[in-house]
């Protein structure tokens, strides 16, 4: 036993050991990753008709091509849309972010410019160019998951930008993470799988579709249940509370003090 252990120790110290261990490690990680990533992008059957694609291309050429290029190949002003997927188009267009009004640190939410059919047609056109994240399955948008685990996932993955209460937050150089209290389940899901603008992509290996549903469940709970403690003051935490304490509480008491100490005429 002792001899075996010393033999192993001897092997461990050999200069070749490091190489062997590294190779074995990389092999395991590499094959593991390939297996996992293959298993998490299910080739869902995507229904898109040629008619839709043609309409989408027409709308694209009329509204988007000036920046994104005639074949969606991108230009100095805008990125290529080949491979961004239907989810990306749906997210950007259905929230009014696209078409963008002006270049700036970040695209703003604006009144939506296209009808649902037009949006779907554009999505179909972009989706037909190359594979990418597709429109999420309605099964994951029911907000019927576990709010508690969703809350935990949200705090770990999302709260550092979007705030623990989903009130949004600032990023560098004028960019920001928007507040989520008005976002639909579909928008939230699409944002996670496409990583619009400054948001990272949370793919299905990172957060499974069920977990995404949990997060949506948690956010829907927050959207539907206002604070039990009364007016929320924007869910901004201690800053708006401090403002309220000074102006609301102390301000009111100062007014009362002025009244109490006023000389009666």
């Amino acid at each position: 036993m002792k001899r075996l252990r010393s033999k192993i120790n001897g092997m461990r110290r050999s200069p070749r050991a490091l190489g062997i261990v590294m190779f074995a490690g990389l092999l395991v990680v590499g094959t593991g990753y390939t297996a996992v990533s293959a298993s998490v992008s299910p080739n869902r059957e995507v229904v898109r008709t040629q008619e839709q694609i043609d309409l989408g291309k027409k709308i694209f050429l009329a509204n988007c091509a000036s920046c994104h290029g005639k074949n969606a190949e991108g230009s100095v002003n805008a990125p290529s849309l080949i491979g961004v997927g239907e989810a990306s188009v749906d997210f950007q267009v259905s929230t009014g972010r696209m078409p963008g009004a002006a270049s700036g640190p970040q695209l703003e939410v604006k009144p939506v410019q296209f009808t649902l059919e037009e949006t779907a047609a554009m999505a179909a056109y972009i989706g037909s160019l190359a594979d990418g994240p597709s429109i999420p399955d309605a099964a994951y948008l029911q907000a019927n998951g576990n709010a508690s685990s969703g809350g935990e996932l949200f705090r770990i993955n999302c709260a550092m930008c979007h705030n623990a209460a989903g009130a949004g937050g600032a990023l560098t150089q004028g960019k920001y993470a928007p507040q989520l209290m008005g976002s639909s389940a579909k928008t939230i899901y699409e944002a996670m799988i496409t990583g619009p603008q400054n948001m990272p992509v949370f793919n299905d290996a990172n957060i499974t579709p069920e977990q995404k549903n949990d997060i949506i469940t948690y956010l829907t709970y927050l959207q539907n249940n206002s604070s039990v403690g009364g007016e929320e003051l924007g869910s901004l935490g201690p800053v708006s509370e401090g403002l309220m304490a000074w102006l609301g509480l102390l301000g009111l008491l100062v007014i009362i003090a002025v009244w109490l100490a006023a000389k009666s005429n």
Partner: protein, 547 residues
């Protein structure tokens, strides 16, 4: 039978009790002494009261919370009624805080009462301090009471911070982590102090229990002691009053404590309590259920401390980066040390300001009549500088919210704040001083020449004049009653040497008083009055001659 009839009439129950108490503890003497204490009437004298009353509300609501709170960091699975946290792993402290919120009857209201009154307590104390500063109420004999009040302000911040951490939610945990970082940033001893406080590596298993002991025992006890000293000194010194006819440094004009002030102050307590209750009923404060239990890995955007710690958070945020250097194996983290040192120096200056001003003026008299802020231009300007400095640091704690809500660039907001921190206080000093001097000049002008009446009169030789009405003595009093300090020169001491101290004092004195406006003198006013009378006579003559 007749004896019974002639027996001395029995005093009522009240008189009997009063007599009983008086014979045993000398209540009549106490009442005579305190009951006749005079309190002047002014709204700004009630700010300290607001602070005191909110402290009483804190004691009451805090006691309620202790019945249901458990400061344990043992991990449990949540099994309460709040669905989005069901089965989450959390500390006992957070679980009991949630139970107070959702399951204890009246618990949420009490939590909100406790938190809102905490914010009010520190805010009212701060405003009270500003009132005392800007009216010069800290002058002899009240310098020590200023220091006691300063200690109370620091204690109230400490009470607030220790309480803020108790729910052990994500927000307060992030705040505690920042404190941990600040402690660790102190060179050489920081790491050891941190592990002493947290019982090992942050967050450990003991810190909530320790903060709880500080929060419910040591700090409130100290606040009570210092509050007692504060009030005792107030009784000894008597209250100050604003200067006016018949009010001076040698008297005190107002109502006696009994019965007027007891009734007023007692009523005011209930008003403060009532306002806190109303705000707590309708406005959420610290929605801990949104933040989740503390876990060192997540950090939420928009993490801020309560307002009174905000200026320290702002100091950290505004500290320029890249100033660290190494001494041997130790990193000297200037991004933490610089804000720490600046904050301590700022607090130190606040604490000793009365002694600085006293040294500069060399004024050994007692002052019971308050200054109008304009009549002490340099002090008012220094105060404005301090307030501006504090305010920029304070705003610095919400750079992220300013950026998102006003659609600005976070980095530029930060840079603007860094520049403002240096430039704005300087600007505030000069602007405030010039405004004070201008107001003083205007006062002097009015004191001497009287009020503009708006009556334009043409004299026989064609000159137009506006008739000025002289002020009545009551209004005049306010405009001329202030101290005129002259800049002092550095004088040699007994050895015939001009010490460095004397030079510093002389230059400070020059800084304070070189461009002062002297109050209008009796002679100036008399001359002007005489001149006005002559003009008036001329006008009357012209009217009578029919022109």
């Amino acid at each position: 039978m007749s004896i019974v009839k002639e027996a001395p009439k029995k005093n009522g129950f009240l008189a009997g009790t009063a007599n009983y108490v008086d014979e045993r503890v000398g209540a009549a003497g106490i009442l005579k002494e305190f009951g006749r204490k005079i309190f002047p009437d002014h709204w700004s004298f009630m700010l300290g009261e607001v602070a005191m009353y909110s402290f009483f509300v804190l004691l009451l609501s805090g006691t309620f919370l202790t019945f249901f709170y458990d400061p344990s960091m043992a991990m449990v699975r949540y099994d309460g009624v709040y669905a989005p946290l069901k089965d989450s792993l959390m500390s006992k402290a957070y679980e009991t805080s949630l139970n107070i919120t959702f399951e204890v009857r009246g618990g949420l209201l009490m939590r909100q009462v406790h938190h809102w009154s905490a914010l009010l307590f520190v805010a009212a104390a701060g405003l009270h301090m500003l009132r005392v500063f800007f009216t010069g109420a800290f002058r002899k004999p009240r310098e020590l009471n200023w220091v006691v009040g300063f200690v109370l302000f620091i204690l109230s911040m400490a009470a607030g911070f220790t309480g803020y951490s108790l729910p052990d939610d994500l927000l307060s945990g992030n705040g505690l982590r920042i404190i941990d970082g600040m402690i660790k940033g102190v060179p050489f001893i920081g790491t050891n102090i941190s592990s002493l406080l947290f019982g090992g590596e942050f967050p450990g298993h003991v810190v909530i229990g320790r903060l709880y002991a500080l929060h419910i025992m040591l700090i409130p006890a100290l606040i009570l002691v210092f509050l007692a000293v504060h009030l005792f000194m107030l009784i000894i010194h008597k209250h100050t009053h604003y200067s006016g006819p018949g009010k001076s440094d040698t008297n005190i004009v107002g109502y006696p404590l009994m019965p007027v002030y007891v009734a007023k102050a007692g009523g005011f307590f209930f008003i403060v309590f009532g306002v806190i209750m109303v705000i707590s009923t309708f406005f959420t404060i610290n929605p801990i259920w949104n933040y989740g239990g503390y876990d060192p890995s997540p950090v939420s955007a928009g993490t801020q401390p309560d307002w009174y710690i905000g200026w320290l958070d702002g100091a950290l945020r505004l500290a320029p980066t890249g100033l660290e250097f190494m001494i041997g194996d130790y990193t000297v983290s200037m991004n933490i040390l610089l804000p720490l040192v600046i904050s301590l120096v700022f607090l130190g200056l606040v604490a000793i300001y009365p002694f600085i001003e006293n040294w500069v003026t060399g004024d050994k008299r007692e002052h019971h009549a308050l200054d109008r802020p304009r009549n002490a231009p340099t002090r008012t300007a220094i105060g404005a500088t301090g307030v501006t400095f504090y305010a920029v640091l304070w705003a610095g704690a919400s750079t992220d919210l300013i950026a998102t809500h006003f659609k600005m660039n976070l980095n530029q907001v930060l840079l603007a704040m860094q520049i403002s921190l240096i430039l704005l206080p300087i600007a505030a000093f000069y602007i405030t001083k010039r405004v004070c001097l201008a107001l003083q000049r205007k006062d002097k002008e009015i004191a001497i020449h009287g009020r503009e009446s708006g009556r334009i009169v043409r004299l026989p030789h064609g000159e137009y004049i506006e008739v000025h009405e002289p002020l009545d003595p009551y209004d005049l009093y306010k405009l001329v009653d202030y101290k005129d300090y002259k800049p002092t020169l550095a004088r040699p001491n007994a050895q015939g040497k001009i010490t460095v101290g004397a030079r510093v004092r002389a230059s400070l004195s020059k800084f304070y008083f070189q461009d002062r406006i002297t109050p209008a003198t009796q002679a100036e006013i008399a001359e002007a009055t005489h001149h006005n009378a002559e003009l008036e006579a001329q006008v009357q003559k012209a009217i009578e001659s029919g022109k």
